[in-house]
Protein backbone atom coordinates (compact mmCIF):
# COMPACT_ATOMS: atom_id res chain seq x y z
CA UNK A 1 0.00 0.00 0.00
CA UNK A 2 1.44 3.30 -1.04
CA UNK A 3 2.22 5.98 1.56
CA UNK A 4 -0.34 8.32 0.04
CA UNK A 5 -3.08 5.69 0.19
CA UNK A 6 -2.19 4.84 3.80
CA UNK A 7 -2.38 8.48 4.72
CA UNK A 8 -5.76 8.98 3.04
CA UNK A 9 -7.12 5.82 4.61
CA UNK A 10 -5.87 6.88 8.05
CA UNK A 11 -7.45 10.29 7.67
CA UNK A 12 -10.70 8.71 6.52
CA UNK A 13 -10.72 6.30 9.49
CA UNK A 14 -9.41 9.05 11.85
CA UNK A 15 -6.49 6.89 12.92
CA UNK A 16 -3.38 8.54 14.45
CA UNK A 17 -1.04 9.31 11.57
CA UNK A 18 2.16 8.70 13.52
CA UNK A 19 1.07 5.09 14.18
CA UNK A 20 -0.25 4.26 10.77
CA UNK A 21 2.54 6.00 8.82
CA UNK A 22 5.33 5.03 11.22
CA UNK A 23 6.23 8.66 11.83
CA UNK A 24 8.37 9.97 14.66
CA UNK A 25 6.71 11.98 17.41
CA UNK A 26 8.86 14.84 18.68
CA UNK A 27 8.09 16.71 21.88
CA UNK A 28 10.19 19.82 22.55
CA UNK A 29 10.32 20.93 26.17
CA UNK A 30 11.15 24.63 25.78
CA UNK A 31 14.89 24.90 25.32
CA UNK A 32 15.56 22.23 27.95
CA UNK A 33 14.98 18.96 26.20
CA UNK A 34 13.54 16.95 23.36
CA UNK A 35 11.65 13.66 23.50
CA UNK A 36 11.70 11.62 20.32
CA UNK A 37 9.46 8.59 19.97
CA UNK A 38 9.77 5.98 17.26
CA UNK A 39 13.39 6.67 16.32
CA UNK A 40 15.77 4.48 14.35
CA UNK A 41 18.94 5.07 16.35
CA UNK A 42 21.76 7.55 16.78
CA UNK A 43 23.51 8.64 13.60
CA UNK A 44 25.85 11.25 14.96
CA UNK A 45 26.53 12.49 18.43
CA UNK A 46 28.77 15.24 19.69
CA UNK A 47 28.35 17.72 22.52
CA UNK A 48 26.66 20.33 20.33
CA UNK A 49 24.99 18.24 17.63
CA UNK A 50 22.92 15.12 17.70
CA UNK A 51 21.46 13.43 14.66
CA UNK A 52 18.78 10.80 15.13
CA UNK A 53 17.49 8.55 12.40
CA UNK A 54 13.72 8.40 11.96
CA UNK A 55 11.38 6.68 9.50
CA UNK A 56 11.18 9.58 7.08
CA UNK A 57 14.79 10.78 7.31
CA UNK A 58 16.62 12.31 10.21
CA UNK A 59 16.22 14.84 12.97
CA UNK A 60 19.12 17.12 13.87
CA UNK A 61 19.27 18.74 17.26
CA UNK A 62 21.73 21.59 17.72
CA UNK A 63 22.57 23.07 21.12
CA UNK A 64 25.06 23.02 23.95
CA UNK A 65 25.93 20.32 26.47
CA UNK A 66 23.64 17.86 24.77
CA UNK A 67 23.15 14.66 26.71
CA UNK A 68 21.05 11.60 25.98
CA UNK A 69 19.42 11.09 29.33
CA UNK A 70 17.39 8.02 28.42
CA UNK A 71 17.47 5.91 25.29
CA UNK A 72 15.60 2.77 24.41
CA UNK A 73 14.72 1.07 21.12
CA UNK A 74 11.81 3.45 20.57
CA UNK A 75 12.20 6.50 22.78
CA UNK A 76 14.98 8.95 23.42
CA UNK A 77 15.20 11.88 25.82
CA UNK A 78 17.79 14.54 24.97
CA UNK A 79 18.70 17.18 27.56
CA UNK A 80 20.79 20.31 27.23
CA UNK A 81 20.50 23.88 26.00
CA UNK A 82 18.50 23.24 22.82
CA UNK A 83 18.93 25.80 20.04
CA UNK A 84 17.56 24.18 16.87
CA UNK A 85 15.55 21.08 16.01
CA UNK A 86 15.66 20.35 12.32
CA UNK A 87 13.67 17.65 10.48
CA UNK A 88 15.14 16.40 7.21
CA UNK A 89 12.84 14.19 5.17
Amino acid sequence: MSRKLRRELSEFLELPLDVSLDLPRVVILGDLGVLIENHRGLMHYSGDKLVVGVGLGQISILGESLEVEEISREDMVVRGAIRTVHVEA
Binding site: G41, S46, E69, I71
Partner: protein, 385 residues
Protein backbone atom coordinates in the same frame (compact mmCIF):
# COMPACT_ATOMS: atom_id res chain seq x y z
CA UNK B 1 20.60 12.08 35.97
CA UNK B 2 17.55 11.20 38.00
CA UNK B 3 18.70 9.14 40.97
CA UNK B 4 15.51 8.14 42.70
CA UNK B 5 13.28 6.87 39.93
CA UNK B 6 12.13 3.26 40.49
CA UNK B 7 14.26 2.19 37.54
CA UNK B 8 17.39 3.79 38.99
CA UNK B 9 16.74 2.11 42.35
CA UNK B 10 16.45 -1.23 40.55
CA UNK B 11 19.67 -0.48 38.64
CA UNK B 12 21.39 0.38 41.91
CA UNK B 13 20.32 -2.92 43.44
CA UNK B 14 21.45 -4.97 40.44
CA UNK B 15 24.52 -2.77 39.85
CA UNK B 16 25.50 -0.70 36.85
CA UNK B 17 28.65 0.50 35.15
CA UNK B 18 29.78 3.66 33.42
CA UNK B 19 31.38 2.77 30.10
CA UNK B 20 33.81 4.81 28.04
CA UNK B 21 33.76 4.03 24.31
CA UNK B 22 36.89 4.55 22.30
CA UNK B 23 36.61 4.22 18.56
CA UNK B 24 35.48 5.94 15.43
CA UNK B 25 31.83 5.04 15.58
CA UNK B 26 30.52 4.97 19.12
CA UNK B 27 26.95 5.68 17.88
CA UNK B 28 26.98 2.31 16.17
CA UNK B 29 27.85 0.53 19.40
CA UNK B 30 25.02 2.32 21.19
CA UNK B 31 22.57 1.37 18.45
CA UNK B 32 23.74 -2.25 18.61
CA UNK B 33 23.29 -2.19 22.39
CA UNK B 34 19.73 -0.89 21.93
CA UNK B 35 19.02 -3.65 19.40
CA UNK B 36 20.30 -6.21 21.92
CA UNK B 37 17.94 -4.78 24.55
CA UNK B 38 20.68 -3.23 26.67
CA UNK B 39 19.38 -0.63 29.06
CA UNK B 40 21.31 2.52 28.13
CA UNK B 41 21.14 5.91 29.79
CA UNK B 42 23.18 9.02 30.45
CA UNK B 43 24.95 9.10 27.12
CA UNK B 44 27.45 11.97 27.15
CA UNK B 45 30.38 13.16 25.11
CA UNK B 46 33.58 14.48 26.62
CA UNK B 47 36.15 15.47 24.03
CA UNK B 48 36.56 12.59 21.64
CA UNK B 49 35.11 10.01 23.97
CA UNK B 50 31.54 8.91 24.48
CA UNK B 51 30.28 7.62 27.80
CA UNK B 52 27.13 5.76 28.72
CA UNK B 53 25.71 3.78 31.61
CA UNK B 54 24.40 0.25 31.37
CA UNK B 55 23.54 -2.59 33.70
CA UNK B 56 26.27 -4.84 35.04
CA UNK B 57 24.59 -8.03 33.78
CA UNK B 58 24.27 -6.74 30.24
CA UNK B 59 27.79 -5.31 30.10
CA UNK B 60 29.17 -8.84 30.17
CA UNK B 61 27.59 -9.37 26.72
CA UNK B 62 29.07 -6.22 25.15
CA UNK B 63 32.29 -7.70 23.73
CA UNK B 64 30.87 -9.15 20.45
CA UNK B 65 28.92 -5.95 19.83
CA UNK B 66 32.02 -3.84 20.40
CA UNK B 67 34.00 -5.96 17.94
CA UNK B 68 31.22 -5.50 15.40
CA UNK B 69 31.25 -1.71 15.90
CA UNK B 70 35.07 -1.61 16.02
CA UNK B 71 35.03 0.13 19.37
CA UNK B 72 36.78 -0.48 22.66
CA UNK B 73 34.53 -0.25 25.70
CA UNK B 74 36.14 0.38 29.04
CA UNK B 75 34.56 0.52 32.47
CA UNK B 76 35.28 3.84 34.19
CA UNK B 77 32.84 3.64 37.08
CA UNK B 78 31.01 1.00 39.09
CA UNK B 79 27.93 1.80 41.11
CA UNK B 80 25.42 -0.32 42.98
CA UNK B 81 24.89 -2.82 45.70
CA UNK B 82 27.00 -5.69 44.21
CA UNK B 83 30.08 -3.43 44.14
CA UNK B 84 29.36 -2.10 47.62
CA UNK B 85 29.06 -5.64 48.97
CA UNK B 86 32.30 -6.54 47.18
CA UNK B 87 34.09 -3.64 48.84
CA UNK B 88 32.70 -4.50 52.22
CA UNK B 89 33.79 -8.11 51.87
CA UNK B 90 37.35 -6.94 51.47
CA UNK B 91 37.03 -4.82 54.62
CA UNK B 92 35.51 -7.20 57.16
CA UNK B 93 37.04 -5.45 60.13
CA UNK B 94 35.72 -2.13 58.98
CA UNK B 95 32.24 -3.61 58.73
CA UNK B 96 32.55 -5.25 62.14
CA UNK B 97 33.75 -1.99 63.69
CA UNK B 98 30.88 -0.08 62.08
CA UNK B 99 28.38 -2.65 63.34
CA UNK B 100 29.98 -2.57 66.79
CA UNK B 101 29.80 1.23 66.90
CA UNK B 102 26.17 1.17 65.76
CA UNK B 103 25.43 -1.39 68.47
CA UNK B 104 27.16 0.73 71.11
CA UNK B 105 25.26 3.79 69.95
CA UNK B 106 21.93 1.97 70.05
CA UNK B 107 22.73 0.52 73.49
CA UNK B 108 23.73 3.83 75.03
CA UNK B 109 20.87 5.72 73.44
CA UNK B 110 18.59 3.38 75.37
CA UNK B 111 19.96 4.71 78.68
CA UNK B 112 19.19 7.83 80.66
CA UNK B 113 22.19 10.14 80.59
CA UNK B 114 20.83 13.21 82.31
CA UNK B 115 17.76 14.10 84.33
CA UNK B 116 16.25 17.55 84.04
CA UNK B 117 13.82 18.83 86.69
CA UNK B 118 11.45 21.67 85.89
CA UNK B 119 8.73 23.50 87.77
CA UNK B 120 9.99 22.97 91.37
CA UNK B 121 9.85 26.11 93.52
CA UNK B 122 10.13 25.10 97.15
CA UNK B 123 11.17 21.47 96.73
CA UNK B 124 14.85 21.07 95.95
CA UNK B 125 16.06 19.28 92.83
CA UNK B 126 17.97 16.77 94.96
CA UNK B 127 14.83 15.72 96.84
CA UNK B 128 12.95 15.11 93.61
CA UNK B 129 15.89 13.21 92.12
CA UNK B 130 16.08 11.01 95.23
CA UNK B 131 12.38 10.23 94.96
CA UNK B 132 12.79 9.46 91.24
CA UNK B 133 15.79 7.24 92.04
CA UNK B 134 13.53 5.27 94.39
CA UNK B 135 11.39 4.39 91.36
CA UNK B 136 14.45 3.43 89.31
CA UNK B 137 15.07 6.67 87.44
CA UNK B 138 18.78 7.41 87.83
CA UNK B 139 21.46 8.51 85.37
CA UNK B 140 22.61 5.36 83.57
CA UNK B 141 19.32 3.48 84.05
CA UNK B 142 17.88 1.69 81.03
CA UNK B 143 14.89 3.55 79.67
CA UNK B 144 13.02 0.30 79.04
CA UNK B 145 13.18 -0.53 82.76
CA UNK B 146 11.96 2.86 83.96
CA UNK B 147 8.21 3.33 83.97
CA UNK B 148 7.22 6.97 83.85
CA UNK B 149 3.90 6.34 85.62
CA UNK B 150 5.72 4.68 88.54
CA UNK B 151 8.10 7.61 88.92
CA UNK B 152 5.19 10.06 88.77
CA UNK B 153 3.29 8.06 91.43
CA UNK B 154 6.38 7.96 93.63
CA UNK B 155 6.90 11.72 93.37
CA UNK B 156 3.26 12.51 94.14
CA UNK B 157 3.04 10.13 97.12
CA UNK B 158 6.40 11.11 98.61
CA UNK B 159 5.77 14.84 98.30
CA UNK B 160 2.07 15.69 98.79
CA UNK B 161 2.94 19.34 98.11
CA UNK B 162 3.07 18.37 94.44
CA UNK B 163 -0.22 18.65 92.60
CA UNK B 164 1.07 17.30 89.29
CA UNK B 165 4.09 15.36 88.08
CA UNK B 166 4.99 14.29 84.55
CA UNK B 167 7.95 12.23 83.44
CA UNK B 168 9.00 11.80 79.83
CA UNK B 169 12.09 10.96 77.84
CA UNK B 170 13.62 13.17 75.17
CA UNK B 171 16.35 11.05 73.64
CA UNK B 172 18.71 10.27 76.49
CA UNK B 173 17.34 13.03 78.72
CA UNK B 174 14.68 12.23 81.32
CA UNK B 175 12.50 15.24 81.93
CA UNK B 176 10.67 15.55 85.24
CA UNK B 177 8.06 18.31 85.25
CA UNK B 178 6.22 19.11 88.46
CA UNK B 179 3.72 21.66 89.66
CA UNK B 180 3.54 22.52 93.34
CA UNK B 181 0.29 23.27 95.09
CA UNK B 182 -0.41 26.95 95.56
CA UNK B 183 -0.88 27.88 99.21
CA UNK B 184 -3.92 29.94 100.02
CA UNK B 185 -3.12 33.26 101.60
CA UNK B 186 -4.10 33.46 105.28
CA UNK B 187 -7.43 35.20 105.90
CA UNK B 188 -6.98 38.48 107.75
CA UNK B 189 -9.97 39.50 109.86
CA UNK B 190 -10.65 43.20 110.27
CA UNK B 191 -12.55 46.24 108.99
CA UNK B 192 -12.24 47.75 105.56
CA UNK B 193 -11.00 51.35 105.76
CA UNK B 194 -10.26 54.02 103.17
CA UNK B 195 -6.74 53.90 101.83
CA UNK B 196 -7.04 57.44 100.53
CA UNK B 197 -9.49 60.36 100.36
CA UNK B 198 -12.25 60.00 97.78
CA UNK B 199 -15.84 60.36 96.63
CA UNK B 200 -17.73 57.07 96.99
CA UNK B 201 -19.20 55.74 93.74
CA UNK B 202 -20.42 52.27 94.72
CA UNK B 203 -20.32 49.89 97.68
CA UNK B 204 -20.43 46.12 97.34
CA UNK B 205 -20.57 44.20 100.63
CA UNK B 206 -19.85 40.47 100.81
CA UNK B 207 -19.61 40.35 104.57
CA UNK B 208 -20.02 43.01 107.26
CA UNK B 209 -21.90 46.30 107.66
CA UNK B 210 -21.43 49.21 105.22
CA UNK B 211 -20.80 52.65 106.74
CA UNK B 212 -20.77 54.74 103.57
CA UNK B 213 -23.15 55.37 100.68
CA UNK B 214 -22.48 56.50 97.09
CA UNK B 215 -21.97 60.26 96.83
CA UNK B 216 -20.38 60.49 100.28
CA UNK B 217 -16.90 61.93 100.73
CA UNK B 218 -14.47 59.93 102.85
CA UNK B 219 -11.05 60.65 104.28
CA UNK B 220 -8.08 58.36 104.57
CA UNK B 221 -8.63 55.89 107.46
CA UNK B 222 -12.46 56.18 107.59
CA UNK B 223 -14.21 52.84 108.16
CA UNK B 224 -16.02 51.81 104.99
CA UNK B 225 -17.27 48.32 105.93
CA UNK B 226 -17.02 46.94 109.46
CA UNK B 227 -16.79 43.25 110.36
CA UNK B 228 -18.52 41.37 113.18
CA UNK B 229 -15.82 41.21 115.86
CA UNK B 230 -18.18 40.08 118.62
CA UNK B 231 -19.83 37.26 116.69
CA UNK B 232 -18.99 33.58 117.17
CA UNK B 233 -17.06 32.99 115.03
CA UNK B 234 -15.90 36.52 114.34
CA UNK B 235 -16.36 37.56 110.73
CA UNK B 236 -14.11 40.07 109.00
CA UNK B 237 -15.37 42.66 106.55
CA UNK B 238 -15.26 41.71 102.88
CA UNK B 239 -16.30 43.74 99.88
CA UNK B 240 -15.23 46.46 97.49
CA UNK B 241 -15.74 50.20 97.69
CA UNK B 242 -15.19 52.14 94.47
CA UNK B 243 -14.46 55.81 94.84
CA UNK B 244 -13.30 58.71 92.69
CA UNK B 245 -9.84 59.90 93.74
CA UNK B 246 -7.56 62.72 92.58
CA UNK B 247 -3.82 62.77 92.05
CA UNK B 248 -1.30 65.36 91.03
CA UNK B 249 1.96 64.89 89.17
CA UNK B 250 4.60 67.60 89.25
CA UNK B 251 7.37 67.60 86.65
CA UNK B 252 10.16 70.13 86.12
CA UNK B 253 12.17 70.24 82.91
CA UNK B 254 15.08 72.71 82.72
CA UNK B 255 15.63 74.49 79.41
CA UNK B 256 19.18 73.26 79.39
CA UNK B 257 20.24 69.66 79.47
CA UNK B 258 23.38 67.58 79.52
CA UNK B 259 24.15 65.71 76.33
CA UNK B 260 27.03 63.30 75.68
CA UNK B 261 29.59 64.32 73.04
CA UNK B 262 32.28 62.00 71.74
CA UNK B 263 35.83 63.23 72.30
CA UNK B 264 37.24 61.12 69.46
CA UNK B 265 39.12 58.78 71.79
CA UNK B 266 38.16 55.13 71.47
CA UNK B 267 39.18 51.61 72.50
CA UNK B 268 38.39 48.57 70.40
CA UNK B 269 38.13 45.00 71.70
CA UNK B 270 37.01 41.64 70.38
CA UNK B 271 34.75 39.40 72.44
CA UNK B 272 33.06 36.06 72.11
CA UNK B 273 29.36 35.86 73.02
CA UNK B 274 28.11 32.41 73.98
CA UNK B 275 24.42 32.24 74.86
CA UNK B 276 24.43 35.82 76.12
CA UNK B 277 27.67 35.41 78.09
CA UNK B 278 30.55 37.56 76.93
CA UNK B 279 34.19 36.52 77.01
CA UNK B 280 36.74 39.24 76.06
CA UNK B 281 39.40 37.86 73.73
CA UNK B 282 41.70 40.85 74.00
CA UNK B 283 42.36 42.66 77.27
CA UNK B 284 41.07 46.16 77.85
CA UNK B 285 43.91 48.44 78.96
CA UNK B 286 41.73 51.31 80.11
CA UNK B 287 38.07 52.17 80.20
CA UNK B 288 36.86 55.76 80.14
CA UNK B 289 34.77 57.34 82.88
CA UNK B 290 31.94 57.89 80.42
CA UNK B 291 31.64 56.08 77.16
CA UNK B 292 29.27 54.87 74.47
CA UNK B 293 29.40 51.35 73.06
CA UNK B 294 28.99 50.22 69.48
CA UNK B 295 28.89 46.50 68.71
CA UNK B 296 29.31 44.94 65.31
CA UNK B 297 28.94 41.21 64.70
CA UNK B 298 32.00 39.81 62.96
CA UNK B 299 30.76 36.26 62.57
CA UNK B 300 27.93 34.24 63.97
CA UNK B 301 27.53 30.49 64.34
CA UNK B 302 24.53 28.61 65.67
CA UNK B 303 24.94 24.99 66.80
CA UNK B 304 21.71 23.53 68.13
CA UNK B 305 20.57 25.83 70.92
CA UNK B 306 24.05 27.30 71.42
CA UNK B 307 24.67 30.60 69.68
CA UNK B 308 28.28 31.62 69.16
CA UNK B 309 28.98 35.17 68.07
CA UNK B 310 32.23 37.04 67.54
CA UNK B 311 31.66 40.70 68.34
CA UNK B 312 33.80 43.75 67.66
CA UNK B 313 33.12 46.29 70.46
CA UNK B 314 34.22 49.90 70.31
CA UNK B 315 34.19 52.12 73.41
CA UNK B 316 33.88 55.81 72.48
CA UNK B 317 34.83 58.28 75.19
CA UNK B 318 32.18 60.93 75.78
CA UNK B 319 32.02 64.18 77.73
CA UNK B 320 28.84 65.76 79.01
CA UNK B 321 27.98 69.16 77.62
CA UNK B 322 25.27 71.66 78.49
CA UNK B 323 22.84 72.21 75.64
CA UNK B 324 19.87 74.51 75.46
CA UNK B 325 16.58 72.98 74.38
CA UNK B 326 13.65 74.78 72.84
CA UNK B 327 10.48 75.54 74.75
CA UNK B 328 8.41 73.16 72.62
CA UNK B 329 10.96 70.40 73.11
CA UNK B 330 10.86 70.92 76.88
CA UNK B 331 7.06 70.89 76.87
CA UNK B 332 7.00 67.63 74.93
CA UNK B 333 9.49 66.07 77.34
CA UNK B 334 7.45 67.28 80.32
CA UNK B 335 4.18 65.95 78.92
CA UNK B 336 5.65 62.56 78.14
CA UNK B 337 7.08 62.39 81.69
CA UNK B 338 3.64 63.22 83.13
CA UNK B 339 2.11 60.41 81.10
CA UNK B 340 4.84 57.98 82.21
CA UNK B 341 4.33 58.95 85.82
CA UNK B 342 0.56 58.51 85.52
CA UNK B 343 0.89 55.14 83.88
CA UNK B 344 3.22 53.98 86.64
CA UNK B 345 0.79 55.03 89.35
CA UNK B 346 -2.33 53.66 87.68
CA UNK B 347 -2.95 49.96 88.14
CA UNK B 348 -4.83 48.09 85.41
CA UNK B 349 -8.05 47.78 87.44
CA UNK B 350 -8.72 51.52 87.71
CA UNK B 351 -10.75 53.69 85.36
CA UNK B 352 -9.37 57.07 84.30
CA UNK B 353 -12.13 59.68 84.60
CA UNK B 354 -10.35 62.89 83.68
CA UNK B 355 -6.87 64.37 83.33
CA UNK B 356 -5.28 67.68 82.37
CA UNK B 357 -1.89 69.39 82.32
CA UNK B 358 -0.91 72.93 83.28
CA UNK B 359 2.33 74.05 81.70
CA UNK B 360 4.19 77.09 83.05
CA UNK B 361 7.58 78.58 82.24
CA UNK B 362 9.47 79.92 85.22
CA UNK B 363 12.30 82.49 84.87
CA UNK B 364 12.78 81.47 81.23
CA UNK B 365 14.88 78.56 82.44
CA UNK B 366 12.42 75.96 83.67
CA UNK B 367 9.27 74.33 82.31
CA UNK B 368 6.93 73.23 85.10
CA UNK B 369 4.10 70.84 84.40
CA UNK B 370 1.35 70.01 86.87
CA UNK B 371 -0.74 67.07 85.77
CA UNK B 372 -4.05 66.42 87.50
CA UNK B 373 -5.92 63.21 87.02
CA UNK B 374 -8.93 61.64 88.58
CA UNK B 375 -9.67 57.94 88.60
CA UNK B 376 -12.19 55.48 89.97
CA UNK B 377 -10.56 52.77 92.06
CA UNK B 378 -11.17 50.44 94.96
CA UNK B 379 -9.99 52.41 97.97
CA UNK B 380 -10.73 49.77 100.59
CA UNK B 381 -7.98 48.06 102.55
CA UNK B 382 -8.24 45.72 105.51
CA UNK B 383 -7.27 47.08 108.91
CA UNK B 384 -6.79 44.01 111.13
CA UNK B 385 -8.40 43.94 114.55
Amino acid sequence: MRFFTPRRIKDYITGYVRVKIQGKNPERLINLCLSANFPVWDVTVEGQETYFSTSLAKYREIRPLARKARCIPKIVGRTGLPFFVGKIRKRVWFLLAALFMAGVLIYFSGSVWTIVVRGNETLSREKLLNAAAGAGLTPGARKSRVFASEVEYRLLTEYPILSWAYVRFQGTVALIEVVEKARAEPVVLGDIVARTDGLIQSVLVHSGTPHVTPGQTVKKGDVLISGDQEGNPARGARGSVLAQTWYEVYIEVPLTCLVPRRTGDKVEIRLLRINGREIPLMGVKRIFDWYEIEDTTVTSLSVGQTGLTMVNRVFYEVKWEQREISLDEAKNIAESRVRESMEKRLPYSVKLVDWNCQIEVEHNSLVVVRGHFSIIEDIGEIRPW
